[in-house]
């Protein structure tokens, strides 16, 4: 059953175009989707799922299940960076461990969207409020990551390194400008557009949906296809960074998503989510952020190496989830639910 799920996941256009993108890099084709087109697709996808989620949230209303789901989401977003940090500390310094941990505590909206279209294809229902869970899982890991840096790095050490340099030292207060950190966490463009679209969806409801449906729904699958084509290009380009990364991080980037998904699965089962929601929840737990959190980390933990945290999330975890993870997690859901 698992193999047939994997096949039915792979044999749909968005995932095949992801492969095509990777292939383009491997055979050194000059195919590229020039900037800022990928940004257009990503703005569109965030808008579309946010808006649709808002419209559906109005329909479903806020009941106990919604509240429990959202609590579980925030819990996982805080817990994942904590335990992954200590796993990572085994081989990495505190800066890099915290940055990678934050990356895995947060989520990848496109992985979520791909899982959603996989469910649609299998005609398994899921709820609109999962988008709210998505939105709420983006930010906490950034804060947790920074608290970890604060706690586990010696400020004087950093200072010493700087004294060696020609420049004037950066004092610690500047290094942890909390208002900047909070803005990065809660107002970065992904979170802002997603939450904003959700709110507009809630405010305009079914009426707004009718006017925007041809745009927000009919193009969705096509834009996702193009977006995944680009993600294939980007992920494949990052793969050569993995050589520097070493086997530890590669193993981490495959095993931890599975661990996170398993924990998510347990929580989903306890709460009594529907199968569709459970899969999406697992996918949120299993996915890692490769845009919002890395940007926040470059700004707030510049001591960490971007090619470690971006490459792990983008070149290993993302393809793993898109290709094998999603059907695997659904297999797990199917096992537990029956």
């Amino acid at each position: 059953m698992n193999a047939s799920l994997i096949l039915s996941n792979i044999l749909n256009p968005p995932v095949l175009f992801f492969f095509l993108g990777m292939l383009a890099i491997f055979v050194r084709s000059d195919l590229e989707i020039p900037a800022p087109l990928p940004k257009l697709f990503s703005l569109y996808l965030l808008f579309a799922i946010g808006f649709k989620g808002g419209v559906e949230l109005v329909k479903s209303g806020i009941n106990q299940e919604v509240v429990l789901t959202i609590l579980a989401a925030v819990l996982m977003a805080c817990a994942v960076p904590l335990y992954t940090f200590f796993i990572l500390r085994w081989k990495l310094d505190a800066y890099n461990a915290a940055a990678i941990a934050a990356t895995y505590g947060s989520i990848s909206a496109v992985t979520f969207i791909t899982a959603g279209s996989f469910l649609q294809q299998l005609e398994i229902a899921f709820d609109g409020y999962m988008v709210a869970a998505l939105a709420l899982m983006e930010s906490p890991a950034i804060i947790v990551g920074l608290v970890l840096v604060k706690l586990f790095t010696a400020p004087q050490k950093k200072h010493a390194a700087e004294l060696g340099s020609e420049g004037t030292g950066v004092d610690d207060a500047e290094a942890f400008n909390w208002s900047e950190v909070l803005r990065e966490a809660f107002l970065n463009s992904s979170v802002f557009l997603l939450v904003g679209s959700l709110l507009v969806g809630i405010l305009t409801g079914e009426h707004g949906w009718e006017t925007l449906k041809p745009f927000a729904q009919d193009l969705f699958y096509g834009v996702l296809t193009f977006f995944l084509l680009d993600m294939g290009l980007v992920a494949a380009k990052r793969i050569k960074d993995l050589r520097k990364t070493g086997i530890f991080l590669i193993a981490f980037a495959i095993l931890i998503p599975m661990l996170n998904a398993a924990i998510g699965l347990g929580l989903a089962y306890l709460i009594g989510m529907s199968q569709g929601d459970a899969l999406l929840f697992c996918v949120l737990c299993a996915s890692a952020s490769y845009i919002a959190v890395p940007a926040a980390m470059r700004l707030t933990v510049p001591e960490a190496n971007p090619s470690l945290y971006v490459s792990a999330a983008l070149a290993v975890t993302f393809p793993f989830n898109i290709i094998l993870g999603i059907p695997l997690y659904l297999y797990g859901v199917n096992l537990l639910w029956y």
Partner: protein, 100 residues
């Protein structure tokens, strides 16, 4: 025509606001920015891809006095966040100079 100093800073776009704030503090309110340039530096490759790592290229023409001050302010930013800053000489042609 007058001889001026040209500062060029290539850095991660997340530093952009810090850098222009530094320029402003040094009295340099006029500058030009080329966005989304692609870079290959110590911290890896910075393309205009989706991974959100983008460089900005800031060019500012200033007087030697402004330059001194700007360097002092920009150096720690680059030391912490990466990037490159170049200084060179040039002649400026525009004849009406409203500010100094």
């Amino acid at each position: 025509m007058r001889s001026v100093k040209r500062i060029e800073i290539i850095s991660d776009s997340i530093e952009f606001h810090k850098i222009t704030a530094a320029l402003k503090q040094a009295g340099i309110a006029r500058y030009t920015v080329i966005r989304n340039v692609e870079g290959h530096g110590i911290r890896g490759t910075t393309t205009t891809d989706l991974d959100g790592m983008e460089n900005d290229y800031v060019i500012a023409i200033c007087t030697p006095t402004q330059l001194e001050q700007a360097i002092e302010l920009i150096r720690p930013i680059l030391n912490r966040f990466g990037g490159v800053c170049l200084i060179s000489d040039a002649l400026e042609i525009r004849s009406i100079q409203l500010e100094e």
